[in-house]
Amino acid sequence: MKLIDRYVTEVGKHLLVFKGREDIEKELRSTLEDMLEERAEKQGGSADEAMEIELLKEYGSPDEVATTYNPHPYLIGPRIFPLFLKILKIVLLSTAFGMTIVMIIELITQTPLMGSEFTEILGDGLGNILSTVISASGYVVLIFAIIERTVPDLGISKEDFDEKWDPASLAKEPDPNSVNRGELIAEIVFTFIGLAIINEIFYIPVFSDTFRRFVPWINAVFVTEILLDIYLLRKAVWDTATRIVKIAMEAGTIVIASIMLYTPNVITFSAEILKNIPESSSADIEIVARIFDIGVLIAFIVVIIVASIELVKAAIGLIRSYTRK
């Protein structure tokens, strides 16, 4: 029986399942022993090693056997693939767009038009766009591969992400506590990319030291958001605890964004960039800088409004869940 034991252990090594590994090994061992016994009976003797070898040979290599049990032959399976494609497109377009803006700002602020520095920045910028797009795609793939492996089959179906609207869905009254999985996954992806951006994994020339002081706080909010979303994906429904976490998180967002809104020079052209502006175009630069500042202001206000809406939504959900009881 030694060989069967070794064989079973070898299959176990190749299993990629999280739970039930021992069960599989135990079941496989008992099956192989049954088969061996049956063969020995047929041949009218007791099982010997040659018989064992023959049996294991027929059963297949441990690697092959383990593969039949391994639940995820896909990196990203068909169930979430449509959503993956949709989000990948959005992420690629928005990062390429964002990095192009960054490059244009650099071109305007750092060089006299068409000088040698101009082509240099253009070249660097295009390289930067390419590498950012590639690493952003990497993040999206990574996040979806994790979701593929951690979120249970139940609930997520192709229909959730189907663009075709089904009139029958009107008839069903939606459960007010159920979560929108597509929305959650999108939120995880964008929060993750947000984390990468504010921690300057991509090159962003507009963050000041003042901004960097806020980064740990923003990180805390973003990480909470991702953890909460992953938890909700698994749980599929909102409950009191998750709603309270959500409310606290949105409140934190509002506080941080408000403080940043009233802190001067949080996001601006850094001193080095300003140094490089040639004298002649300083007036134009001032206009660009002002437009940029207003853009930043609007962005903070949008963040505060969105967070407030989310906070109110969560609070209403919380109150309703108690009044319904």
Binding site: G20, D23, I24, K26, E27, L28, S30, T31, E33, D34, M35, Y59, G60, E64, V65, T68, Y69
Partner: protein
């Protein structure tokens, strides 16, 4: 060569769908994996171990089967039996199957 390969593939696809129904129909009484394999084979349906065991686990994870370990002849065996949910599903599957058979018989006649 290519022809036999595509024939094999089509046959494999055809059988794959049938196996779930066959397994559910044979698990009204408790069976362990190997005894179920022989039960199916005795009735003319040859199923590969590499197909059957993972399928049993999957059906159990879906709640259509239940399983319990029993010690028999000093050997632990995992016995599978159809669950309440599986029992509810089986008649629907049978009806579906009968529909497919009658449509295909007409089509192929």
């Amino acid at each position: 060569m290519a022809n036999t390969e595509s024939l094999d593939n089509v046959v494999l696809e055809l059988r794959r769908g049938v196996i779930v129904l066959a397994v559910l129909s044979q698990l009204n009484g408790e069976q362990y994996g190997y005894s179920l394999l022989k039960l199916l084979s005795d009735q003319g349906l040859e199923v590969d171990q590499g197909t059957l065991y993972p399928l049993l686990r999957r059906l159990e994870a879906q709640g259509l089967l239940e399983s319990v370990w029993k010690l028999e002849e000093a050997r632990p065996r995992r016995y599978y039996v159809i669950s309440a949910e599986g029992k509810k599903l089986l008649p629907k599957l049978k009806k579906e199957w009968a529909g497919i058979v009658s449509v295909m018989n007409k089509m192929l006649a």
